[in-house]
């Protein structure tokens, strides 16, 4: 049963402010998260919209630039990862972003063919 639990993997998705992306990366490295991917996304999460004007054309920018981190980790690493994300991305203002944790059916490391626990950031120690 113990072995089975350790084998479970989760996908942690963090959507954060672009200006906080470097802080988040730093915090993840400090937490010894070894694999991470990020992408630029646009989204809306209830923050106040910016109004911009281009030569008389006034627009309300409904989507804000965000950075989306995707980190697959073994089960017991989830809390550390979430703490690193939330601690480093928080400013206290609306628009700081969200973290989602979802179960992963399977993870494979392409180079070696390792699966699940062996394929993601493992439990430290």
């Amino acid at each position: 049963v113990r072995k089975k639990k350790g084998d479970r993997v989760k996908l942690v998705i963090g959507i954060v402010r672009p200006e906080k992306a470097n802080d988040v990366l730093e915090a993840l490295y400090r937490a010894e998260v070894r694999g991470v991917s990020m992408s630029r996304v646009q989204g809306h999460g209830g923050e106040l919209d910016r109004v911009e004007t281009y030569r008389g054309t006034t627009v309300r920018m409904g989507l804000a630039d965000k950075v989306r981190f995707e980190i697959a980790v073994s089960d017991s690493f989830v809390d550390k990862t979430v703490e690193a994300l939330s601690g480093s991305a928080r400013t206290g203002e609306v628009g700081d972003g969200k973290i989602f944790v979802v179960p992963l059916e399977r993870a494979v490391r392409i180079r070696t063919g390792e699966t699940d626990h062996g394929a993601v950031t493992p439990v430290a120690g």
């Binding site: 402010r17 906080k20 470097n22 646009q42 999460g45 106040l48 627009v59 309300r60 920018m61």
Partner: protein, 434 residues
């Protein structure tokens, strides 16, 4: 010069035609600088950085017409000129003393120098200084610093009267902007993430194109500073080709020696350093010495750029290294290698006149001291009355959206039209942040 017949009132048609074109060339340097600077900052500060240069055109031109020109060029006062030409009083079609061009053209040509120099200083404070305070700073600086230094070096002020040679502005333009930039960076303070995160240029192509257009404009800047189509202007024009080319070659070597790569942004910087180095010396040294100057000027500026990034001084776009230090090198270079047979004015130490080096050394000391001190005082006084910089939160969002309500690279996705004619007045439902 005397070869061409002068028209009515001692005005030369040839000289005037060239100076009209040269004035337009120098004006182009400021948008070119905006492009150069915009490429060097992060994408979220592109427009604000460019707008500081555009603002310099607005502010410096108006103040130059109101009082700056008069302070710089009215009379032979030791420290400042007079107020006789304030609001362009008496500036008309009669030739400017010592030239064969109408004073109106002389005024416009000199105005473009004040503009680009004011814009240069912005490089020290981009990405965090608020736009409103920058406008006020540009107004004060263009009069209290630029016009005064221009009088010293060009307007028969004490430096020129004591024999300092400065062809196109090593003192007011280059050392004036460079050492003012250092003071501005110290008073305004570093960007919040400086030294902690990599703050990289967002578009190296803008940087190269901006540098190229600056070089183009510099032919008017140096070539026009003889105010004629005579020998000094011709010499300065050609030297403006030679010196930056040599600076580029040496910069390539320095880059390759340090990092085994020849960098594009390094090349753009080398063009500026070469143009700056020849600015004071353009009409005074032979083409051969101008080439040597390009090679010589690259080394101290390169060194200062390397060392500056190891300090906590966030003089963001290295105005000190590219302008202050290269201008300093150029001013001193005249003292060694000026050549009477080329310039008709004076020899340097190498050709037997040690006193010229002394005159140059005084300028190389006085220019930086005044520029640094006056800029420091102006910004300190302003800082006592208003916040000079954006809050950390606003700095993180970026100055484009914050100050101008625009983005350089707006995608339009998710943008909802609010223009009344479109008939969409009702608020779009938005989740309550509660």
């Amino acid at each position: 010069m005397g070869a061409l017949p002068l028209g009515a009132g001692g005005v030369s048609a040839g000289d005037t035609a060239w100076m009209l074109a040269a004035t337009a060339l120098v004006l182009l340097m400021t948008p070119a600088l905006g492009l150069f600077y915009a490429g060097l900052v992060r994408a979220k500060n592109t427009l604000n950085t460019f707008m500081m240069c555009v603002a310099a055109i607005a502010i410096a031109t108006v103040l130059w017409a109101v009082v700056g020109y008069s302070i710089a060029f009215d009379g032979n006062g030791s420290i400042i000129g007079g107020f006789g030409n304030a609001f362009l009083h008496d500036v008309g079609f009669a030739p400017r003393e010592g030239t064969a061009i109408p004073e109106l053209v002389f005024f416009a040509f000199q105005a473009t120098f004040c503009i680009v120099t004011t814009a240069l200083v912005s490089g020290a404070v981009v990405e965090r200084m608020r736009f409103g305070p920058f406008l006020l700073f540009a107004a004060l600086w263009s009069v209290l610093v630029y016009a005064v230094l221009a009088h010293w070096a060009f307007g028969n002020g004490w430096l020129q009267a004591h024999g300092t040679l400065d062809f196109a502005g090593g003192v007011p333009v280059e050392m004036g902007s460079g050492f003012s930039a250092l003071a501005a960076a110290l008073v305004v303070g570093a960007r919040k993430d400086y030294g902690r995160q990599a703050l990289l240029p967002h578009n190296a192509v803008y940087v190269l194109l901006g540098a190229g257009l600056l070089w183009f404009g510099w032919f008017g800047f140096n070539g026009g500073s003889g105010f004629s189509t005579g020998h000094p202007g011709v010499l300065a024009f050609t030297n403006t080709l030679l010196t930056p080319a040599c600076a580029l070659v040496v910069w390539f070597l320095l880059d390759f020696y340090r990092g085994r790569k020849i960098t594009a942004i390094g090349a753009a910087t080398a063009i500026i350093v070469g143009c700056v180095g020849i600015t004071p010396a353009a009409g005074f040294v032979s083409p051969a010495w101008a080439m040597v100057l390009g090679a010589v000027a690259a080394v101290p500026s390169y060194t200062v750029i390397v060392l500056r990034t190891r300090t906590r001084v966030d003089e963001t776009l290295d105005v000190l290294a590219a302008h202050g230090i290269a201008g300093f090198t150029g001013i001193l270079f005249i003292g060694f290698f000026a050549q009477l047979s080329w310039n008709g004015a004076s020899d340097g130490l190498f050709y037997g006149d040690a006193a010229q080096l002394g005159h140059q050394a005084i300028a190389a000391l006085a220019g930086p001291v005044y520029a640094f001190g006056a800029t420091w005082l102006i910004l300190r006084a302003m800082g006592a009355l208003m916040p000079l910089r954006a809050s950390d939160r606003d700095e993180a969002i970026g100055m484009d959206v914050l100050e101008h309500g625009e983005e350089a690279y707006a995608s339009g996705e998710g943008a909802i039209l609010l223009t009344p004619e479109a008939g969409i007045e009702e608020p779009v439902p938005v989740a309550d942040p509660g």
